[in-house]
Every structure is written in C-alpha cells, then in structure tokens.
C-alpha cells in the first residue's frame, strides 16, 4: 500500500487510501453467488449482533488480489451481502465477457 504524509501544523497524518469496495445486497437462498470468478475461502468469523458468520474469499487467479466477503443480513436473512474489494487483472473464468478481452499493460 502506498501512503502519503500530509503535515498539518505539528501533527503528521498518514493517509491510506484503500481500494474502493462494492457492497452488493442480493436476495438469494444461495450464500455464494456465481460471479464468473473462482474463489478460495480463507477465513470465517462471527459477526457481532448477528446469527450469521462472515466468510472471506480470495480470487484464485495468478497475481489477482481481489477479495470478497459474504454474509447474510441479520435484519433480513433472505439477503446476502457480498462485498468486493479490488479489481481483477484478468477476464472472468467463464468467458462470457470475452468481448472485453484485451492486453492490459501496466501504467
């Protein structure tokens, strides 16, 4: 992660900008919805004030750092909350979006 320091009078503040997250709320019986990517679960934890645990997944593609977490909404257990962090550096596994396939050079 890259952090930048900005000085405010005597107090130094290091700002750290995380990759934006997208939080999807979907009505589904299935916890892990198919999004065209492959995932590996790396953790699970109990969520405060909720009956439902939260599971943590990582994209299995080489060098892809995208993560997601899946949990059920405690107020409405029909709803699944899927939160994504990061962007994939590859096309989806199922090839449905092959029209977007292009060489991606680093900037």
């Amino acid at each position: 992660w890259r952090s930048s320091a900005s000085e405010k009078s005597k107090l130094k503040v290091r700002r750290k900008l995380r990759e934006p997250r997208f939080c999807f709320q979907t009505r589904s019986d299935v916890d892990v919805l198919d999004d065209g990517y492959k995932w590996r679960k790396y953790g699970q934890k109990v969520v405060k004030n909720s009956l439902h645990p939260r599971s943590y997944y990582r994209c299995t593609h080489n060098n892809c750092r995208v993560k997601k977490r899946v949990e059920r909404l405690s107020e409405d257990c029909r709803m699944v909350i899927t939160t994504y962090e990061g962007r994939h550096n590859h096309t989806p596994s199922d090839d449905s979006n092959s029209s977007e396939h292009e060489c991606f050079t680093s900037f």
Binding site: L11, K16, P20, F22, C23, F24, Q25, R27, V66
Partner: protein, 102 residues
C-alpha cells in the same frame, strides 16, 4: 487528541459503494464493477469510478428506486447497464488511487 508516542496518525479511508441487485443481474454487474476495465468506456490511463444516480429512472423498462442513498436497479440487461454507464459523468481522483505497487 492523543498522539501515540510521536507516531504519525494513520487515517484509513475506505470508500464503499452500495449496490442492490437480483440474482439474475448479479454476475454482470459484479463483472462490470470489479473486472478489468473496458477501454470503450474509459480512454484515460486511470481507471474511473462509476456510481449510480437518479438518471437510472430514464428507462421505463427498468425499474429503479432510491432509498437512503442506495439505488435499486432491476431488470437491467448487461447492454443496458453499459449504456447507462456511458451517460454518467466519470468521477475520478476520488476513489481510485492505484499508482505504484499495491
């Protein structure tokens, strides 16, 4: 404000966008927002962010509602979604900061 032993204060900024979808459109919207950037939408070298706003209401076939800052979109095909994205002005420098290595 307590300063822990002269260490600089660390501020972590997490920007979260909320999206409501149904199972049918989930896959395409996820890929749209988290997949590799398509060059047809954005020609600049920096990835841009896109967010939903009230202009979604333009399409009569597509139902949408806004509740507390969340925008619900239903019955969107992938093509319609791409078209809508092109109409939205891009907001850069706000969320994405991918210069340098992760």
């Amino acid at each position: 404000m307590a300063i822990n032993g002269g260490q600089p204060m660390k501020v972590v900024i997490i920007n979260t966008k909320y999206v409501e979808t149904d199972v049918r459109s989930f896959k395409s919207i996820v890929q749209e927002l988290t997949g590799k950037e398509s060059l047809t939408i954005d020609n600049s070298s920096k990835p841009t962010t896109r967010f939903y706003d009230k202009r979604m209401n333009k399409k009569p076939r597509v139902s949408s509602a806004e509740v507390n800052g969340l925008v619900l979109m239903k019955n969107l095909s992938f093509k319609e979604l791409e078209k809508l994205f092109k109409e939205i002005p891009s907001v850069d420098n706000l969320l994405w900061n991918i210069d340098g290595n992760k």
